[in-house]
C-alpha cells in the first residue's frame, strides 16, 4: 500500500513547522497510519524518503510509541483502559465482554469479519469516568456491557471503513460526537 497524493503533500509540508526536520517524523507517521490503518514497512520507508531521514531511524521511532500499529488492527479498534482506577471499576469485565461480543480470545486479535479488535491500554487520563475507552478518536465513558453492545451494533450497521475516513484533522465523525454525548 502506498500513500495517497494528499498524504504525501501533507507530509512534505510538515518540516517547515519545526526548527529541525526530525520533529516531523512522528506527525508524518501519524498521517501514514491514519490513511493505512497501520504502519507498513513500505509506508515507513516512504516517510523516511519524503523527510530525507534514515529509514532505520523512522522505524526506531515508530516502534517506540505505542499508538503506532505495526500490524493491522480491526477497522473498529477499541483502546480500553485497564489501569488502576478503571480496574477498580470493572475494566476487566468490560474487556471480557468485548472479547465475547467480537469473538476474539485476546487483545489485538482481529474478529473473523475483519472489522473489530481491541487493545488494553494504560491510563487515558479520564479516570473520573472509569471504566472508559478511546474509540474512533473519542472517549467513551462509564462503560457498561450495554454501551459496548450499542457501539458494536452501530459499527456493524455502519458502512465499512467509515471509521477511518480522512486524516488527523478531519471533521468530527459521528462516533466522536456520540462518545461525549452518551
Amino acid at each position: 500500500m502506498a500513500l495517497s497524493k494528499h498524504a504525501i503533500e501533507e507530509i512534505k509540508a510538515l518540516p517547515q513547522r519545526f526548527p529541525e526536520i526530525r520533529s516531523a517524523v512522528v506527525p508524518a507517521l501519524d498521517i501514514a497510519q491514519e490513511e493505512l490503518g497501520y504502519l507498513t514497512p513500505e509506508a515507513m520507508s516512504e516517510v523516511a524518503s519524503l523527510l530525507q531521514v534514515d529509514p532505520g531511524y523512522v522505524e526506531g521511532v515508530a516502534t517506540f510509541y505505542t499508538l503506532f500499529h505495526l500490524e493491522p488492527v480491526g477497522e473498529h479498534h477499541f483502546y480500553v483502559c485497564t489501569n488502576l482506577s478503571c480496574m477498580l471499576r470493572g475494566a476487566e469485565e468490560i474487556c471480557e465482554h468485548i472479547r465475547r461480543r467480537i469473538g476474539v480470545s485476546r487483545e489485538r486479535e482481529i474478529s473473523a469479519d475483519g472489522r473489530f479488535s481491541y487493545e488494553e491500554v494504560e491510563c487515558l487520563g479520564a479516570c473520573e469516568f472509569a471504566p472508559m475507552m478511546r474509540y474512533a478518536h473519542a472517549y467513551h465513558y462509564e462503560l457498561t456491557p450495554e454501551k459496548i453492545d450499542a457501539l458494536i451494533e452501530a459499527a456493524r450497521s455502519a458502512r465499512p471503513a467509515s471509521a477511518r475516513a480522512g486524516v488527523i484533522d478531519r471533521p468530527e465523525s459521528q462516533e466522536a460526537e456520540q462518545g461525549h454525548g452518551r
Binding site: R22, S23, L88, G125, E128, H180
Partner: protein
C-alpha cells in the same frame, strides 16, 4: 448532541469544581456556557492579565510575583516555579522556548484534561504570560496523542487568538510577538518526564537525558527552555491579576495556593476538585468525592498518582500539604487521588501498577528495565498461587534496587515505591497470597480465607 459545536461539552462532563467559591482560583468560571470561546472568555476578564503583563509589567516584575506567590510545580515534583524560572539564562541570544507539559499519563490523573476542556484559553493565556516573562516568543504544547477533544479545542482556540491578533507580531498593540504551537505525543508514559519529552518533541525515541545540562539551559532543540505543567501555567493569569502575595494567602507553609485533585476509584463522586492546599484527604475523599460506596470502607489511597507511595485508611487525616505528605513517606505528585475500598486486593492492585511501570520503562537504564520486569514476574507467580518466602524477599530486594537515584529518571523510583509502600502497609495481604494462597480481600480467584482446600 445535535446542534452543538464540535468542541463544546455535555453538561455531564462537569465532574468536579466549577462556579465561584473563595478557593476557586482556577475553576470559578468552569461551567460558564461556551467558556472555551475566546469572546466568552474575554467577557469574563480573560486575557486582561496578559494585556496587563505586556503593557504594565516588566518580565522581572512578573517573575517577582511568581516568586512571591510561592507557587510550586503541579506536574509531580513540586519544584518552586519562581526558582525554576530563574535558571533560564538571560543573556543567551537566539530563540528560547516555553514547553507545556500536557502529557498527563500518570495513572489516576485527569486534572489537566479537565482544565483544558473547560477553559483552553486559561492555559493559553498562562503560556503567553510565561513567554513574555522569560523572553520567549514561542510556546510548544506537548499534548498526549489520545487527547482528541482537548487537541481540537486547543487548535480552535489558537486559531481564534491568531485571528484576534493576540498571537502574532503585536499582541494588544505591543511590539512583542507571541506564538503557540501544538505537538501531539504518541502513547508513552515516559514522555511526561521532562527530558524525555524534549527528546520526543525533537522527533526521537523518548528516552530521558542525563542532567546536567538542564532544560533551562539546553532544552528543546538545544535552546534555553522553560518546561512547566499545564496547571502550573494556568495559575499565572490569576497571579498577574491579583498579585503573588494574595495567592500566597491561600494554602499553608511551603504549599501555597490551591491545586486540582482528580479523585477516582472507589468513591461515589469521582471528579476533579480544586482545593486549598492544606485540607485533609478525609475532606477530599469522604466529603468532596462522597466516600466509598455504601457499606464499604476505604482501604488505601494513592495521594498523588500511582507514583506516590500508597497510604492506608488510618492516614486519611494527613493533609494535602506537600511537605506533610513527604514527612509521612509519600508525596503530592500529580494530584491524582486513587481510592481503593476494602473489596479490593492490594497485591493485585500493586501487580497492575508494576505491569504499567514495566511496560512503560523506556529501557535505557538497566536497573529500571530489569527491575520492573523481575518484579512483574514475581507478582505473577504470587498471584498464580506459586509464591514462596523467596518471592517476598525478591520484592523486598527489587524495590530497593529501583530506588534512590539508581535509575536515570523517576520512573524506577515510582515502581520501587509501589512495592515498598504496599508491602509496608499491607504485608499481611502479601503473606496470605504468597504463603497460603489466600486473598484477604476475597477478590482474587484463589482459595478464599476460611475455605478448606
Amino acid at each position: 448532541m445535535a446542534g452543538e459545536t464540535r468542541a463544546s461539552l455535555a453538561p455531564d462532563d462537569l465532574r468536579g469544581s466549577h462556579g465561584p467559591a473563595r478557593h476557586h482560583l482556577l475553576t470559578s468560571l468552569f461551567g460558564t456556557p461556551d467558556l472555551h470561546r475566546l469572546a466568552v472568555y474575554r467577557e469574563h476578564g480573560g486575557y486582561r492579565s496578559l494585556e496587563k503583563a505586556l503593557k504594565e509589567m516588566t518580565p522581572d516584575q512578573i517573575h517577582a510575583e511568581v516568586k512571591a506567590s510561592g507557587l510550586r510545580g503541579r506536574g509531580g515534583a513540586g519544584f518552586p516555579t519562581g526558582t525554576k524560572w530563574s535558571f533560564i539564562p538571560k543573556d543567551v541570544p537566539g530563540p528560547r522556548y516555553v514547553v507545556v507539559n500536557f502529557d498527563e499519563a500518570e495513572p489516576g490523573t485527569c486534572k489537566d484534561r479537565y482544565l483544558v476542556e473547560h477553559s483552553p484559553h486559561l492555559l493559553l493565556e498562562g503560556a503567553c504570560i510565561a513567554q513574555y516573562a522569560i523572553g520567549s516568543h514561542q510556546a510548544w504544547i506537548y499534548i498526549r496523542g489520545e487527547y482528541d477533544r482537548p487537541y481540537r479545542m486547543l487548535v480552535e482556540a489558537i486559531e481564534e487568538l491568531r485571528q484576534a491578533g493576540i498571537l502574532g507580531p503585536r499582541p494588544f498593540g505591543v511590539d512583542y510577538p507571541l506564538d503557540v504551537q501544538l505537538y501531539r505525543g504518541h502513547g508513552a508514559y515516559i514522555c511526561g518526564e521532562e527530558t524525555a519529552l524534549l527528546e520526543s518533541l525533537e522527533g526521537k525515541r523518548a528516552q530521558p537525558r542525563s542532567r546536567p545540562p538542564f532544560p533551562a539551559v539546553k532544552g528543546a532543540w538545544g535552546r534555553p527552555t522553560l518546561l512547566n505543567n499545564v496547571e502550573t501555567l494556568a495559575n499565572l493569569p490569576w497571579i498577574v491579576d491579583h498579585g503573588g502575595a494574595e495567592y500566597a494567602g491561600f494554602g499553608v507553609e511551603r504549599s501555597r495556593g490551591t491545586r486540582l485533585l482528580s479523585v477516582s476509584g472507589n468513591v461515589q463522586r469521582p471528579g476533579v476538585y480544586e482545593v486549598e492546599l492544606g485540607v485533609t484527604f478525609r475532606h477530599v475523599i469522604m466529603e468532596l468525592a462522597g466516600g466509598p460506596p455504601p457499606g464499604r470502607r476505604v482501604k488505601a489511597f494513592w495521594p498523588g498518582g500511582s507514583s506516590a507511595p500508597v497510604l492506608p485508611e488510618s492516614m486519611l487525616d494527613v493533609s494535602t500539604d506537600l511537605d506533610e505528605l513527604a514527612r509521612v513517606g509519600s508525596m503530592g505528585g500529580s494530584g491524582g487521588v486513587i481510592v481503593m475500598d476494602d473489596s479490593h486486593c492490594v497485591v493485585k492492585a500493586a501487580r497492575r501498577l508494576i505491569r504499567f511501570y514495566a511496560h512503560e520503562s523506556c529501557g535505557k537504564c538497566t536497573p529500571c528495565r530489569v527491575g520492573t520486569n523481575w518484579a512483574e514476574r514475581t507478582f505473577e507467580r504470587i498471584l498464580r498461587g506459586e509464591g514462596t518466602v523467596a518471592d517476598l524477599q525478591i520484592l523486598d530486594h527489587v524495590q530497593d534496587a529501583l530506588q534512590n537515584g539508581r535509575c536515570l529518571c523517576g520512573l524506577g523510583d515510582s515502581a520501587g515505591w509501589v512495592i515498598m509502600s504496599t508491602m509496608k502497609h499491607f504485608r499481611e495481604e502479601y503473606e496470605a497470597h504468597a504463603l497460603r494462597n489466600q486473598c484477604l480481600a476475597g477478590e482474587c480467584n484463589v482459595q478464599r480465607v476460611g475455605a478448606h482446600a
